[in-house]
Structure formats: C-alpha cells, structure tokens
C-alpha cells in the first residue's frame, strides 16, 4: 500500500502497520499452505473459513477471534483452528472450526489456549457453540502441554450444555480418540457421510488391544453412528448438507437474548473514522486526546442521544477521561487515558466511575494509553498505591461487562487498573499501534543498567560502559519486540489486532454479543482502602 504524498506521517506509519497486519492474517488464512490446501480441496472438502462462510447468515458479520494465536511460536499462525462469533439464523454463536490443512487439524498448546478463550467468551456471554470438527486430536510431540489441561475442553462442553447454552458438533472428518468426546459431549451431532470418523481407537489400536479386525467405517463411520450407535443425530450427505442441517438446528434453539432490544435508531459518529489513522503518534511518549477517538467510535449526537459524549468529572483527574456515550445504541461508560500517567486523582475518579456504571448496569469501555501510575516521593507519600489499589479493586469486582481497547501504551499496573487481560474483560482488542509491558523498553533497560551499575560500584569495580550499552540495546530490543501487538496477540493476550477504523464495528458486535446475558452491576466491592 503506497501512501499519497499528502498523507500524514502518523497515517503512513499506521498504514504500514496495517499492511503488516494483513500479511499476518493472510498467513493464518493460508493454513497449512498451498500443498495441503489443494489436497484438502481435491478431496472435495472445504476449508474452515469456507465452512464458516456457509454456516453464517448471508450479509452477517463474522468476528474472528485470536487469528494470530501462536504467532512467534514454532506453530503455524492461527494455531490450526478458527474461532469467532458468527450469526446463524439470527443467533450469535461461538463458531469453532478445525483447520485440517495444518497438521491434520491437530491441537498444539496454542490451539488449546485459543479454544479455552473461545469457550470463556461463549460462557461469559451465553452463546451457543457450533464446532466444525476435523481434527486428528492432540499434536503428539506437544502432548505433555496439552493432555492434562486439555480435558477442560470436554468438561466445558457439558458445562455449557448444563448452563442451557446448546452445543452443536458438525463432524467433517477425523474426530478420534479424545477428540471423539467433542461430538460425544455435544448436544447435537451431525456427521458427514463417508467423511466423519469418530472412534476411541482406530483399527490398529483395536487390533493391539483385543485382536479384533475392524475398519474405519464400522468403528466410527457416519452411517454407523447415525444408524447403529446413535452418536450422530443427523447424517449429512455432504459438507454443504451438514452446514444446512447445522443452521436448521440453531434455528430451532428458540434462542432469546437476555437484552433483545436492538437499537436501530442511532447516529453515526460525529467525526470521520478515517481520522483515527492521523491521530496516533508514532512515538507513544507523545500523548493524544482520547476524545478524538470517542468522537470517531461512539454514536454521534442524534435521536436518543442528544449529546455524543457526556464527560464525567471533566475538571478533576484530567489525565483520565471518563464519561457516558453510546455505541450502536448500546450505552457505555468510558475510561480513557489522556496524558498517559495515572495520578491519585485519576485513580479515585476511575474507582468512582466504575461504581457508577455498576449502579446503573452499564458496560464499561477502557481505552488504553497509559504508562502506569505515577512514581516519585511526592506521589508515594500522597498514597498513589492506595489510590491505585482502589481503582484495581473497583475494576476487579465490577460485574458489568468490560471491553478493553489497547490504543497505545499499556504499561505497568496501569494495564491492570485499565482492565488488562488478567482482569478478564469480556473482549480485548488491540490496535497495531499498541504496546504493553511491565514498563517501556527504554525504561526497563535503563533500570537494569542502573541496578547493574550500582551493583558493580558497590563491589568497587569499574563499570563496563561498552557492555552496558550492549545490554541496554539488547534488552530494549527484546522488550520492544515482546511488547508489540503481534507477539502479545500470538500469546492470546488479546482477542485480536484490529484496524482502528473497525473499532466501532467490533464494539458494536461485542456489545450485541454481550446482550445475550443479563447485565447486573455489583454493589459489593473489596474494602476500599481510604
């Protein structure tokens, strides 16, 4: 993508990052590569995303989750599975599709993490789950990291069923050994004729175990399961038929959203969404006004929303912007970093605002660009820990849904207070401009250098400046790399890296998904240390 000459440097930099994001997504889409994709197609089979395209409603959106899982690891980007939220017969569902072109769809440690995350989203938001199964089970070389935690996947299926969020398995191919429990634990099972293969032990294992001679079809064929074992509820003639049946199953789930009001009457943002690309400085040390983001992401002034953004406590703790807005008609409370640093005032303002949102059952949106809580004698003496703890207490115990968007920096305890990954926001998406770590790379390298220098001085040694420069550069580089979005997304520390211009759409989908379960704000927080 070549930028015209009149493009701002900020936009040019963001466009470069977005081009890089497209490339990484393309790697995930490529799955096992052309050779395996062609072989899969030659067998008359569809790729996971091709199956999903047929499964979801025409014209509906599909929000793919964790597409970069496994990025930077030894495994293929995407972790041999596609997960996401799609709309099937008007029902928002968690869709999970194995990618059989990647090592037969076998699960590696990142696959398991990605599946856990998908299950968590389905559970927290009360979504039915549709599994498009074609997996050779565990990737055996990494079984030690999968086998024991992986059991949770099957337990999760039946817990979901018990929680009245139905589970559907459409079996397109292998689903053997432990994998057999995916259909086994699902409420509805569809198997594709002459393709599905569902058994605990295949012919060689059976012969080893009992001496019995058998074949795939008699042990686990679709016809057998549909007519004899009863494990399959529906026999599909082919993949299209399986997807058709899957859609009919969902159509009959009698699904009712907890908050069905779909807000149709809202205005588009007051400012042009394209402006987001001109907003984010390349150097995150330079702050930017999050109100400019809010004006491009939230509903504009219009019917039912006389003012686009009602700012709360605008004159107090001005490094954190708080206030009320709407996204696609859904009310949200917003906490957005304005000046990077969080002081005591900001922390107390945040704690109060989070309580207000809980009082009126309004979801919270955290827009991250923070370098953390202020340090220094004055602030320590002013009780910055106490106040930071109040904010973390509030965000930890809040029971309204939280959504976090990593716009820029998200460093230190600021990441916690702003509802970083460990604070279980319902959704967390990252802009390509974001960085997250315990502190900034330069600071971290500098700290290490100071500590090392102090140690050598204490020993009376001459400090090796050259080695120090090398160490600082190395640490800075490593921390920089490990604080970048692809790396963090690869480790499942977010739900995906998104184009800032898609933020509004992603939030619209997320808030609609959230409406599948009731919102009940808490009035019980931990003891606020005053």
């Amino acid at each position: 993508m070549t930028a015209p000459p009149d493009v701002s440097p900020r936009r040019a930099a963001m466009l470069d990052k977005l081009a890089a994001l497209d490339e990484e997504h393309a790697r995930a889409v490529a799955g096992g590569g052309p050779k395996y994709v062609d072989r899969h197609h030659a067998r008359g089979k569809l790729l996971p995303r091709e199956r999903i395209e047929l499964l979801v409603d025409e014209g509906s959106a599909f929000l793919e989750l964790s597409p970069l899982a496994g990025w930077g690891s030894e495994y293929t980007v995407g972790a041999s599975v596609v997960t996401g939220i799609g709309v099937i017969e008007g029902v928002e569902c968690m869709v999970i599709a194995n990618d059989a072109t990647v090592r037969g769809g076998a699960s590696n440690p990142w696959t398991v993490k990605k599946l856990f995350r998908a299950a968590q989203i389905a559970r927290e938001n009360r979504l039915p789950t549709v599994n498009l199964v074609e997996s050779g089970g565990a990737d055996l070389p990494s079984q030690k990291e999968i086998f024991i935690p992986g059991g949770e996947l099957f337990r999760g299926l039946t817990k979901a069923s018990a929680a009245k969020t139905p589970t559907v398995a459409l079996v397109f191919g292998n689903s053997t050994a432990g994998g057999a429990y995916v259909p086994g634990m699902s409420d509805y099972v569809v198997m594709v004729k002459e393709q599905a293969k569902v058994f605990l032990g295949g012919p060689p294992l059976v012969r080893m175990a009992t001496g019995e001679e058998s074949d795939d079809e008699s042990l686990g064929g679709a016809e057998m399961h549909a007519r004899t074992s009863g494990l399959a509820d529906y026999l599909a003639q082919d993949e299209h038929d399986a997807l058709r049946i899957g859609r009919r199953i969902v159509a009959r789930l009698n699904w009712r959203k907890a908050r069905p009001a779909d807000h149709d009457d809202f205005a588009e943002p007051d400012e042009d969404v394209e402006g987001l690309l001109d907003l984010i400085p390349e150097d995150l040390k330079e702050p930017f006004d999050p109100r400019e983001v809010i004006a491009r992401v939230c509903d504009g002034a219009g019917p039912g929303n006389r003012v686009a953004f009602d700012e709360f406590k605008p004159l107090y703790g001005t490094s954190l912007v708080t206030g009320w807005a709407r996204v696609h008609g859904h009310p949200v409370g917003i906490l957005a970093n304005a000046q990077g640093v969080l002081f005591s005032e900001e922390a107390q303002k945040a704690a109060q605002f989070i309580q207000l949102a809980n009082q009126v059952d309004v979801p919270l949106l955290f827009l991250h660009n923070t370098t953390g809580y202020m340090v220094g004698a004055e602030y320590e003496q002013g009780g910055i820990i106490k106040h930071g703890a109040m904010m973390i207490n509030a965000v930890s115990n809040s029971t309204v849904p939280h959504i976090s968007i990593m716009m820029g920096a998200s460093y230190g305890a600021g990441n916690y207070g702003m509802c970083g990954r460990a604070y279980d926001p319902r959704f967390l998406f990252t802009w390509p401009s974001a960085k997250s770590a315990v502190m900034g790379p330069q600071q971290l390298a500098g700290v290490l250098s100071i500590v090392a220098r102090a140690a050598s001085e204490a020993k009376g040694e001459v400090y090796d400046e050259a080695a120090d420069a090398g160490l600082r550069a190395y640490v800075e580089e490593q921390v920089e790399a490990e604080s970048l979005p692809f790396f963090l997304s690869g480790r499942l520390y977010d739900d995906g890296v998104i184009d800032p211009r898609d933020t509004r759409t992603v939030l619209g989908i997320a808030l609609s998904v959230i409406d599948n379960c009731p919102i009940e704000g808490t009035d019980r927080f931990g003891v606020f240390r005053m």
Binding site: D22, L54, E58, G59, D241, H328, S512
Partner: protein, 679 residues
Amino acid sequence: MTIRRLLVANRGEIARRVFRTCRTLGIETVAVFSDADADLPFVREADVAVRLPGNTPAETYLRGDLVVRAARDAGADAVHPGYGFLSESADFARQVRDAGLTWVGPRPESIDAMGSKVEAKKLMEKAGVPVLGEVDPASATEADLPLLVKASAGGGGRGMRVVRALADVASQVELAAHEAASAFGDPTVFCEPYVEHGRHVEVQVVGDGHGHVLVLGERDCSIQRRHQKVVEETPAPGLSRETQAALHDAARRAAEAIDYVGAGTVEFLLSGDRFWFLEMNTRLQVEHPVTELVTGTDLVALQVAVAEGRTLEAPADAPRGHAVEVRLYAEDPAAGWQPQSGRLTRFDVPGVSARFANPASYGLRLDSGVETGSEVGTHYDAMLAKVVAWAPTREEALRRLAGALSRARIHGLRTNRDLLVEVLRHDAVVSGDVSTDFFERHELRARGGAHRGRGAVDPAEVSAHAAALALAERHAAGRRVQRRVPAAWRNVASQPQVTRLVEGYPDGSRTADDDVLDVEWYAGRDGYRFAHQDAPALGATSVRAVRVAPDRVTLQVDGVDTAFEVSVRGDVVDVDSVHGHVALTRLPRFVDPADQVATGSLLAPMPGSVVRVAVEQGQPVATGQPVLVLEAMKMQHTVAAPYDGTVTDLPVSVGDQVAAGAVLAVVHPREAPSEGDQA
C-alpha cells in the same frame, strides 16, 4: 333499437377495450369468463360476469350456446364478439340474432362470403379489386415459383407454407391440407404466387348499411413473425398518394361489393406500388387502435352505432400524426417464439396517457388484458398488451414507443419486449424498409443474434453484479441482530462472498455450471467492492459500486455511473437498467437432498418392501390409480398416481426393500391442451 346491456363474448384486453367504450356510451357490461380467467381485470371491470366452466377455448369462449345463454341470464341485449374465438362465426352471429339479441358485427352472410378465401377472391376479382391469380399446383412450372399454399378457411398463418422447389409442391400442399383440416376442420387449400419481400397493408372500413362506407385509412402490418403481426402502424410508410388512394378505393369497392355493414378490414399484399387483395376480416382487428388515434375515432363506438342502426358520418377532422402499435407477448423469441406462462409479478408501462382510449393529444396508449399479479396461462393467446405511441411523425412515434417499452417494468415472465425495442430502433424499420420477411432478413440480438449497439458490456453479467449487491443489502437489512454492522463484515478477510445467479426465471431445470453467473464481492467499512474490479466478465475494464440499496444499485462501469433497479421475490431477481431487463434466479446456498428428486417422483413414505407393482413403465395412469403397494410394519400402503400422466420411470420391483424417501416411480403429468384463439 338502443343497446342497454352488452355482453362481450371474449376475454382479456379486447373485453376491457369494449367495456371502456360501453362505459363512455352508458351501456352496461357483461363478461363471460373461463375458470382460468376468473381473476383477470376484465371480469372485475364488467358490471356483471358469467362463468363458463372449464378452461380450454372449446369448453368456454368457443361455446356459442353457453355464451348466448349467459347473455340471456345476465339480461344482455347485445353481444360483441371481439376478435378471434367466435368473431367470424356466421353460425354464432345467427344464434345471437335468433335469440333476439343485437349482434355487434357484420351480417352473417358477409361473414360467410369472406370466410372462404377462395370464394372471397372470386368475389373481389368480380368487383374489380386486384387479386393474385390462383395457380393450380398440379400444373405449376418453374416460372410460377415461389408459391404460397394457403388454407381457404385459415387465419393466423396456420396452414400457410411457402414452396420454392417444384418437387416439393405436392407434398407441401398435402401437409398444408392436413394442417388446415386439423386446425379449421376444412382441408381446402389453394396456391398463389408468393410475393418476395411483400408488405402487408390493410384498410379499415366501416359500413353503416345506409349506403355509407367509411374508409379510415390504411395500416402497415408487415413486421410479422410466423404470420402473426408484431408491429402495426398507420399511415403505411413510404406510400405514394396515388397508391394510398388506390388502396382505399379498392377497399371501398370490396366493402360495397358485399354491402358490408360494420367494421371490417380489407387486407392487401403490397409490393412497390402494386397490391393484391388477400382477404377481408369481418371483425374488429387487434391493431385497430392505431387507426383510432390517427383518425380520432372510436371504432367500437362506431360498431355499436351501426348495430343500433344509426347513420355514420365521416370524421370531422383530417387524420393527424402517426401511430405505431406493438403486441407485447409472453413468449421467448430466442426459443422459437415459445409461449410463456406464469405470474406477471410486475407490469408497469411508464408515461401512459390513456388506456383503451385515445389520449387528448399525442401520447402513449396502453390496451392491456393483464396487470401486476395476473396469472398468464397457456390456454389462450399469449398477448399481454398492446402498446401504442402516437406522435406527429413516424420517427417520433417509433422512438417514443421504444423508449416506453425499454422503461417498462415487466417481471415474472419472459416476453418479446427486448425484441420489440430492437425492432423499433432497427435501421431498416426506422427507414421504412419493412416487409413480412423482416425476421428472416435481419438477425436480431433478442433472437439470439450477435450483440450490437451500445458498448460491449454484457447485460446479464452487469445486472448480476447489481443484483448481488442488492441481495446483500437486503440480507443485511433483514438481520435480527447486529443490524447496523456493515454487511458481511470480516476482520480477517479470507475469501470473497459469492452470489450465484443464473439468467432467467426458475423452471426447475438443472443449470449447467457454465451458465452460472458467480459474482464475487467483499464488503466492509468502505462499502462493497467486487473481487474482480477489472471486470473481465462484464466486458469492461473497471467496475465499482457507487451506491447500494436493497432495491437500487448504482455501479460505475468504465467511469460511467449506471443505475439498476432491482426487484427481489424469493430467489427471483429482476434487474432493470439501460442495459435492459434481466431476469435472474439465485441459486440456493444449500439444497436439501430430499428436494433433489425428479418432479413427479413418488417416494416411499416409510421403509418397507414392495409387495405389488400395479403398472408398467410407459403406462398412462389416472389420478388416484394405484401404482404399487408397499408393506411396512405389517401394514400395506398403496402408492397412487397424484395426477393424470404417464409412468416414465419404475426403478423398483416386487420384493425390493426400500428406504423412506426412496423413489418408487416417476409419473410425468399429461400436458394440458393448449390452443390459440387469435387471427
């Protein structure tokens, strides 16, 4: 005597046309209708209506006895026959008169006199009207070729054949006689010289029985397909005043020769400035509106006046302007003019200034038997409407008519509309070079000929592109959740959305993959984008979406914005634009395998075994006739024929075990008989 209540022994547009004049004159109206026609506008528009049970013309509109009884039952005092059906039946005219009703038509003797073409020719020759000499097929020579074989009792081109080789004469005469016998019940045929590139020109006359014969100008009806008129106009283009006067004079003599009373048409074959009598039609013609427009008359009103015994006066005003009529048919010109049936889901002709009547000034007249929602069957003539333009000059009338037709919204059925537009804009037609062999002389796109005219953009492809986006927008608008998220939004783009369409209306036939129009597109924040923006399939170099709404899409093709109107009903998409009308059928995303059985298949209601097969393959069966017996769970189930037809497939035999849903037999329904009704 004054007519108070008039029955029209006809259907469709001509019934509406006659009713229209009746309302003007203050006469009450009576319709007769077949079962298939019960919902057509002409039935509703009549003051009272009488059902003629059944559907075929033989059961209904050709049953003179039933029509006369209907007239009596409905208290009618007059009968107008329209055209076709009983309009040229002298017997029916007598039945009507014998019943004490007024017959709005010529005397039965006149009908008889003109009914036989052989006799009529002799009569005309005697009256000094030029006729083509008859050729005795037995003694024909090379010099007589080509010859035209005609049925004496014929009409509408049936029983008519051109013979170009001497060796074929005998066999063609025999075939024509056979055809004539089956079509008209009279095998009499005759031969006359065939005039190459001849024109069909006819003259409208009205005699009042008081010694006046009005001659209301001529009509050129040369553009015909299979001897069926397609385009009619008045005045005839390119005639010298002398030829025109001679034609009118010949027509007057013809009418006077038989002391003709009522409206009639004397048809001539014209070549250069020579002409010969063909036949006289003793009724109102389909194409009468062009004459009405140019002469400012109401021919039905004149018919009524004559029937009431009034004296006619020549129109006060001189003929004005030029009028062109086209017959809009439910037919497929590219498939041998095959008649089409189905529901007319939309029928709008823009800019109509009058219906069944003359507009106050130059304008567009529409005489239509159908309206949006009408069901078009195969029992009767497939003409949907006549669209007539009246303008100061011929060029303006042609252009106006072509424009109105191209903008008309006609959905649900294949029609000859594109053909009509192409004809009206054809260089030969515009220059006045018309003849009855027009369609043999010119290759037309609407008949499968090569593309010509504006640009190389493929109308089906570009319309499919518009349809795909309109459908997407429709789907998006129908969402129950995430309603305002951009349609088909993806954060990870893996593949385009694919909309699969085939040209034409669904007819149950399988489509070869080559015919599928696959439109691939992406959608998102910035709207819609085609996967192939270089548009090779369109025959363009670029295509992009400018504006997209569920019923209207603007595409920019090679820098030009074009709007497409898109109507969707189920899987059927009608697209109208400057590229013409394109009907598309959406291929379903999924096909339920249970639906993938041949039409007419009888399926096993449950698993069981076949204990008896009561029919053989190829055997005709009647509704309810047992086909086979299936035993399941100790119960015997008889599988019966669902309708009259023929067993075309019988894949099972006694003792076979069958699964539920298995095909046991296929019964092909018997074709419903179909008859035309029109000359």
